[in-house]
Amino acid sequence: MKDADVKNLTDIVGADWIITDLEQKSAYFYDEIERALRPVANEQSIVVKPKNTEELSAIMAYAYEQEIPVVIRGGGTGLCGGATPVVESLILSMERFKKIIQIDEDNMMAELEAGVTLRELLDELEGHKGIAFPVHPGDEGAQIGGMVTTNAGGARAVRHGIMRNHIKGLEVVLPDGEVLKLGGRLLKDNAGYSLMNLLTGSEGTLAAITKVILRLYPEDKYSATLAIAFADMDQASAAVLEIIKSGVSPLAVEYQDKKLNLETAAYLGLHWPLDEGEADLMIILSERSEAALYLACEQIEAICRKHQAVKAVYAGTKKEQAELLMIRSGSYEIIQELIAHNLDMAVPPARVPEFMRGLRKLAEKYGTRTNIVAHIADGNVHNDILLEDGKIPAFTPDLLKEMYELCFQLGGTITGEHGVGKLRLADLKLQKNNRELELMKQIKKIFDPKGILNPGTVVQIDGCNKN
């Protein structure tokens, strides 16, 4: 970065809010992607922390004029390298956009600045009895703006869908610095193309998000977590499909390999209740009344019995539920250091058993194994390619390609919720046809003609790629 740029940017945000020291700024280079998969950060990049839309707009206008790449950084909890600057960039950290503008109880909407974290939103809602926000990508350090720009998913999508379903309005800053307001506190808004939906999931490549209006929902007070073991995956999957069809609406339906469940439980000093069977499901229920909760349990129990579940247990207290969830979410820590590649494919829900079988067979073919966890009712499967002797095995690209091919055969996608980022830039071409990719590039060029926003993410266009 040129001295003049640093000086001009300092004039905008003040000396306290710009970081040029390598040791300090390196904390802003990466997201939560596995070390082995990290794109290499350009260490010349610097960090700027605007305090509001005006400052952000001024920075953006300056960067646009000078053709300096800009990478917008939220909570850094992404899993596809989206937040890493691969060319010399301005890292625009949103950490000062902390204001919760209003919890509008009448319209059941929340208006927030983009840097508010999910945890902060949930804490705020604690003070508004009976109101909740349902999307939960797992890491509560995620910022709302980041959740919008990545169209976050998570386990609770079964009932509530993904982030996109809950975004009602945005304030964004375009690459040239102009501020745009999209949508509003509206449940119906059919005026023209929905740019708001286009920006949702655009991974910081089209505009910077500064404010968000989210829809809120009545809180469900009664919850339970069911753990159910089936003889095999086909039975488990058939039960899940039937549960969804029956009208029961679980918050989450999670699958995890039994091996992972048992190992994680042992590591955490907890107890996994299902020792029998081959396929373990965890179903989280959340209802407005106790009667509704038990009715859902009854329906699920009957369906699972029909599909020959071998064991079905009920966790009712907060602690019991939390412990089961810890086993489900703690597994990553056990396998983290063993992973060469982590996948996020999704297939139509009914194809899941076939898909899992195929993935296992492929791993076997290459003389390895694959760990599988899945948001099974969504058809979203996370599996991995394992390191061998601590190294990325040479067959990784071939195995990955075969796994993708299997996914496409079943009508699937290479990423269900993590996004393309920098990790899957090349892979996207395997899934999308040329015309679709070309349209994406055209759209990118319309928003960002000089290509300053998050270069190397989602689509590659010619621009100020100073590599």
């Binding site: 069911l226 753990a227 159910i228 107890h271 209740p273 038990y294 349990c297 009854e298 699920i300 129990e301 064991k311 079905a312 247990v313 009920y314 966790a315 009712g316 207290t317 907060k318 602690k319 019991e320």
Partner: protein
């Protein structure tokens, strides 16, 4: 074999709030549940069902505690009994022990009474031994292992009594209080949970227990101790200096504190601290 498990309904201690100003426990802030320590006692009883035991859970509490009794049924108890009467209100541990002992007598013949190490709300851990004394049966506390249960005796291993573990044999009937190390609490089966919602629960009031106890012996009247006041103590104020990247700074401060307490090795030496 008739096994009685004593349980208590307590608020969930992870969420219950304390009103510092008025010295009150805000019970509405948390869900009521079975005292976590009692779950190990219940689990032990349910495991004895394999040897033909019948398990009865017994609790004293307000009518809403029926829910807790149902939960115990879901977790494997065969019968649930709730001792509930406005006259039981305000009982200290002694009056509680008298009431529960009367409930046990009312139920008739029994072989074993099981209870948890302590309750998370009262923390007293004294009701078990008091009941054993009232019933005139042997007791053992801090049981971490149960072995050799026969028709008229039970062998248990107790934790840390005067510095050692002991294996004891108790003649039945007896009362044992178990620790969390005894077993792993299992989750109830969904089916049994659903059944528990409608299972009949036995309720005894003071009149039902006539002949075993009286109004003078229970509740506030029967209590031998009186709570004068309750307050929420101020938390110890901690320094709360949290470091992140400056390890040396952290270490320097810690060393200084350790030195102040003469805890660093070679403590006679002169060390330069800062």
């Amino acid at each position: 074999m008739n096994v009685i498990v004593l349980i208590k309904e307590v608020p969930d201690m992870d969420t219950v709030r304390f009103d510092t100003e008025n010295g009150r426990v805000d019970r509405s802030s948390a869900e009521a549940e079975i005292n976590p320590f009692d779950l190990n006692a219940l689990q032990a009883a349910v495991e004895l069902k394999e040897q033909g035991a019948t398990v009865t859970v017994l609790t004293m509490g307000p009518p809403r505690a029926e829910k807790t009794v149902r939960d115990a049924y879901a977790r494997g108890a065969d019968l649930g009994v709730l001792l509930s009467d406005s006259k039981f209100g305000g009982a200290d541990t002694w009056a509680t022990s008298v009431t529960l002992a009367a409930g046990i007598k009312k139920l008739g013949a029994f072989d074993l009474v099981l209870c948890g190490e302590k309750s998370v709300d009262g923390d007293t851990a004294q009701v078990g031994a008091e009941i054993a004394e009232i019933l005139g049966i042997p007791h053992a506390y801090y049981v971490e292992h149960i072995q050799n249960v026969s028709k008229d005796s039970i062998q248990v291993r107790v934790e840390d009594i005067c510095g050692s573990k002991q294996v004891r044999e108790l003649t039945l009937p007896a009362l044992i209080s178990v620790t969390k190390n005894l077993n792993t609490v299992q989750l109830p089966e969904i089916r049994r949970k659903l059944l528990s919602l409608n299972v009949p629960i036995t309720k005894f009031g003071l009149e039902d227990m006539a002949g075993h106890t009286s109004q003078e012996q229970v509740g506030l009247k029967g209590s031998k101790t009186k709570v004068l006041k309750i307050y929420v103590p101020a938390e110890i104020q901690r320094n709360n200096r949290i470091y992140r990247d400056h390890f040396n700074q952290f270490q320097k401060n810690v060393w200084a504190e350790l030195c102040k307490r003469n805890l660093l090795p070679n403590r006679g030496d002169q060390h330069e601290i800062i």
